[in-house]
């Protein structure tokens, strides 16, 4: 049956695919962030290693899944990064651009994979640009950002790697080691003249080195040594210890007069060389330590051992005058990270399972409400009964437990806002480049937690506000210089908790909003009257009105038809609000306030005919009892006068197609709801009081119904629909205009 085939295919791929996608997306994020840091700070071995590892694991995973285009790109990227960490090429703007383009392309490919599509995007262009960079190596004219520490080491010209004539498994080992970043060394040992039993010396040397690493090959072989007249021998060694350590160890063997150790280059017989320094070793250790830490089977003891080893090269680095600061920073960084990893215990949980748990807790809250009601009813009936009292006491305790449980469960869904923030440094970088401005994005409060539901939807509005700050807020470098400000503009993104809300601030140190201009535009567009008295804040907030755009030229950044009104609307939809403060010449700050969760809201229950609807309390302004005779129909719309203003009304009974009641009462309830600066009165039959409700989705099929935002389940188990105030108001406004 074809349906079964579908199912099988889904399971087959799906299970691994999900892990793959999660992991790859994480690696890509890491790569992207790392590249930006690389651009800022120049070559830093720890960072380059991190990048290399991300590219490497991405390549590995994609290879397993058979996504060749991704493998091709990450492979080239890995090569490039490898050259970089060997100091064969410098970090250049061009390189960062290309690598960032690679991350973008891979991201796009991953999203094709996610949608179960074939990867149709090309990769050859990027691969060939990366290859150009590699083949250009150092000779090519590049905009060097900063020298990579260690790349200026003098190369010893007299070292020619020996051809050990390795067999297949041996060269595979070497290649592997190269890929993993282990140290591979050619150890040349010179024996004292007339040494007897040369072969024994070779065996001893091999044994000593085996204690520190792996000896891949000895040349000449034991037999040849025994027979011949060689003055020494050479060993090919995989080793993670510092070169000096190996050397010391070997020199302890008698009759070994000299030991020379060179890193053995990638590709046998190649002429490329890597300078051997303590830094190289440190780098190798970095890699090993991180690998040890990510391999669960290896005991933490090994990690500690590896870490203690690390202090050796770092002490040596201190002796060198060059690059002390950056090097020791790298080392401590690595250690700090390592320790952090071992302490934080996290598990990944499918969001579906978590939602189920939350669902259940929601149900329990509802059931508890019923129990409380039963308790109260019983009390009304049997005032002094002891059992009733115990029941009510138990109910109170249960209530407390439920609150704790609910809070704990909701915390499970809390995600640090940093996950949203992390995509903006790239955005700002690209925008700044495009506009020719110099802008730094400062992130603060990334650890501030908020509900997953909010995190998922906050990205776009934030992006528009940041775009706006970059495009309209920060001035060009010339203007800034003229104003006596540093050429580098700063956009700050900050987040913190404020009671039950999260506040997110987007501030720039730009020119501030041109209030006069805004006022004039608003007047010319008829948004405000010419003589209307407005505070500075009111004027600033005019930019949130629909159809307002002060940009003289429509740029590709903020003039994409998405005005500030859309941003405001999106935030209002989330139950949030946005405010502006601006100071001439000093900058503008947008403040967003959002509820911490979108899963539970306070709602006002209203009755219309025989149906009950929930109105989100956050949009309720007030409730009125209105005499029917006070309702006037203007055009086709009923209106009522409220404190001198006309308030448009809609009848939910008509709107939702309910049968008209048989006998109309002389008075009706009106729930005044506001959305942005618009207000609307909903005519309802009864008010049923307010209640905390858990928002449930109506599913795909019913998701886009006008006027309905979702559903909830009441204490009696019945489903009640939650009104979408935004769309109701929108609807009325459109009707009024047409």
């Amino acid at each position: 049956m074809s349906q079964d085939d579908d199912k099988n295919q889904g399971v087959d791929l799906g299970e691994f695919l999900e892990f793959y996608l999660l992991d790859s997306q994480e690696q890509i994020e890491k790569l992207g962030a790392g590249l930006l840091q690389l651009e800022k700070e120049g070559g830093n071995i720890g960072l380059i290693n991190d990048l290399f590892r991300s590219a490497h694991s991405l390549k590995g995973a994609s290879g397993t899944m058979g996504f060749t285009p991704i493998v091709a790109m990450t492979h080239a990227a890995e090569d490039l990064l490898d050259r970089l960490r060997q100091g064969k090429i410098d970090v250049s703007l061009e390189m960062i651009d290309i690598l960032l383009a690679v991350t973008d392309r891979v991201k796009a490919m991953l999203s094709q994979v996610e949608q179960r599509l074939e990867i149709t995007l090309g990769y050859e262009d990027l691969v060939s640009s990366m290859k150009d960079l590699i083949s250009g190596e150092k000779s090519a004219a590049q905009t060097s950002l900063q020298p990579v520490p260690g790349n200026e080491q003098a190369l010893e010209d007299d070292f020619v790697p020996l051809n050990f004539s390795l067999d297949q498994p041996e060269s595979a080992k070497i290649n592997n080691a190269h890929m993993m970043g282990y140290g591979i060394y050619q150890v040349d040992v010179k024996l004292a003249p007339n040494t007897l039993m040369k072969a024994v010396r070779a065996v001893m040397a091999t044994q000593r080195l085996e204690g520190m690493g792996t000896v891949i090959k000895l040349f000449p072989s034991i037999e040849d040594l025994e027979a011949g007249n060689d003055e020494g021998f050479s060993l090919l060694v995989l080793c993670d210890e510092p070169i000096e350590e190996m050397r010391r160890e070997l020199l302890e063997i008698s009759e070994l007069v000299d030991v020379v150790i060179h890193p053995y280059p990638d590709g046998i017989g190649g002429t490329e060389k890597t300078a051997h320094t303590t830094k190289d070793t440190a780098e190798v250790l970095e890699t090993i330590i991180s690998e040890l830490e990510t391999t669960p089977s290896i005991s933490s003891k090994a990690v500690t051992q590896a870490k203690s080893l690390k202090t050796i090269p770092s002490q040596k680095a201190m002796v060198e005058p060059k690059g002390i600061g950056s090097d020791s920073a790298v080392l401590t960084d690595g250690i700090a990270n390592g320790e952090g990893n071992t302490q934080v215990h996290t598990i990944r949980v499918d969001t579906v399972r978590m939602d189920n748990l939350i669902n259940l807790v929601g149900e329990m809250v509802i059931t508890r409400t019923r129990l409380v009601q039963i308790g109260l009813d019983l009390k009304a009936q049997y005032q002094t009964d002891n059992m009733v009292n115990s029941l009510n006491e138990a109910n109170v305790y249960l209530g407390r437990l439920m609150n704790d449980l609910q809070e704990s469960v909701m915390r499970l869904r809390m995600v640090a806002i940093g996950t949203v923030f992390s995509r903006f440094p790239r955005l700002v970088r690209d925008l700044a480049k495009k506009t020719g401005k110099e802008i730094e994005l400062v992130l603060k409060g990334e650890d501030t937690e908020l509900d997953k539901t909010v995190v998922e939807v906050i990205g776009d509005p934030l992006m528009h506000l940041i775009r706006n700050s970059v495009d309209h807020g920060i001035e060009s470098p010339e203007e800034r210089r003229a104003a006596g400000k540093p050429e580098l503009g700063t956009v700050t993104l900050d987040a913190y908790h404020e009671g039950n809300h999260i506040a997110i601030l987007i501030s720039d140190d730009g020119a501030g909003l041109p209030l006069d201009k805004i006022r004039n535009i608003a007047v010319s567009k008829g948004l405000i009257g010419e003589r209307e008295e407005l505070s500075e804040r009111d004027i600033a907030n005019l930019i949130f009105l629909p159809g307002f755009s002060t940009a003289e030229k429509v740029t590709d950044i903020s003039g994409r038809g998405v005005g500030m009104d859309v941003v405001k609307k999106a935030l209002n939809n989330l139950g949030g609000m946005v405010d502006i403060t601006t100071r001439q010449g000093l900058g503008t700050t947008f403040t967003i306030r959002l509820p911490l969760t979108l899963a539970i809201i306070q709602a006002l229950l209203v009755e219309v005919g025989e149906e009950i609807y929930a109105v989100p309390l956050s949009s309720v302004l007030e409730t009125l009892l209105v005499n029917r005779t006070d309702i006037k129909t203007v055009g086709r719309l009923p209106m009522v006068q409220l404190r001198g203003n006309t308030l448009p009304l809609i009848s939910l009974q008509e709107k939702f197609g309910l049968p008209a009641p048989e006998n109309e009462s002389s008075e009706v309830f009106v729930v005044v709801v506001g959305f942005g600066d618009k207000a609307l009165g909903l005519i309802v039959d009864e008010l049923r009081g307010q209640q905390e409700v858990v928002i449930k989705s109506l599913g795909d099929i019913l998701s886009n119904l006008p006027g309905i935002a979702g559903a909830t389940i009441l204490g009696d188990g019945k489903v009640t629909l939650i009104l979408d105030i935004g769309s109701l108001i929108q609807d009325v406004l459109v009707t009024r205009k047409s």
Binding site: Q115, F656, G699, L702
Partner: protein, 148 residues
């Protein structure tokens, strides 16, 4: 020999069948909340142990007249791919096995009902079972997701 196991139910005088693997459970009719502006075949939503799921009126889907709820009325809760929804039926009759070869494609002319919801017609002796095509029942949009 390939066999299919079906849950059969009545709608007026017709007998229908759905693949048992798609049936999650069969429940009595709980209070149904009407959803304004929803497609006409959606009768409303119900609370299924904390989940809100839509209920499709098969009578509406097949252009039959509405009937009052009886003691035999049931909602058959189905899972089609990842979507869960209920279909309201007049009565659930039995679970039976049918030989795949006894299923014929829907006849082009004879059926008075919309054939896009019908996968085929099964013959068991004198009985004719109309086999539902579940992918199209719910808006006809549920079939695309995994097809690539």
């Amino acid at each position: 020999m390939a066999e299919e196991q079906l849950v059969t139910f009545n709608l007026g005088s017709e007998e229908f069948g759905v693949d048992i693997m798609r049936v999650q459970e069969i429940i009595r009719i709980p209070p149904i909340t009407r959803v304004p502006k929803a497609p006409s075949y959606v009768e409303g939503v119900i609370n299924l142990r904390g989940n809100v799921i839509p209920v499709v009126s098969l009578r509406n889907r097949f252009g039959m007249t509405r009937v009052e709820e009886t003691d035999l009325s049931r909602i058959v809760v189905l899972q089609v791919q990842s979507k869960v929804f209920g279909i309201r039926v007049d009565a659930v009759t039995e679970v039976l096995r049918i030989d795949s070869e006894a299923i014929e494609p829907p006849p082009q002319v004879a059926l008075s009902m919309d054939s896009q919801f019908i996968r085929g017609v099964g013959k068991i002796g004198e009985r004719l079972l109309i086999l539902l095509d579940l992918d199209n029942i719910m808006g006809g949009e549920t079939g695309h997701e995994l097809s690539t």
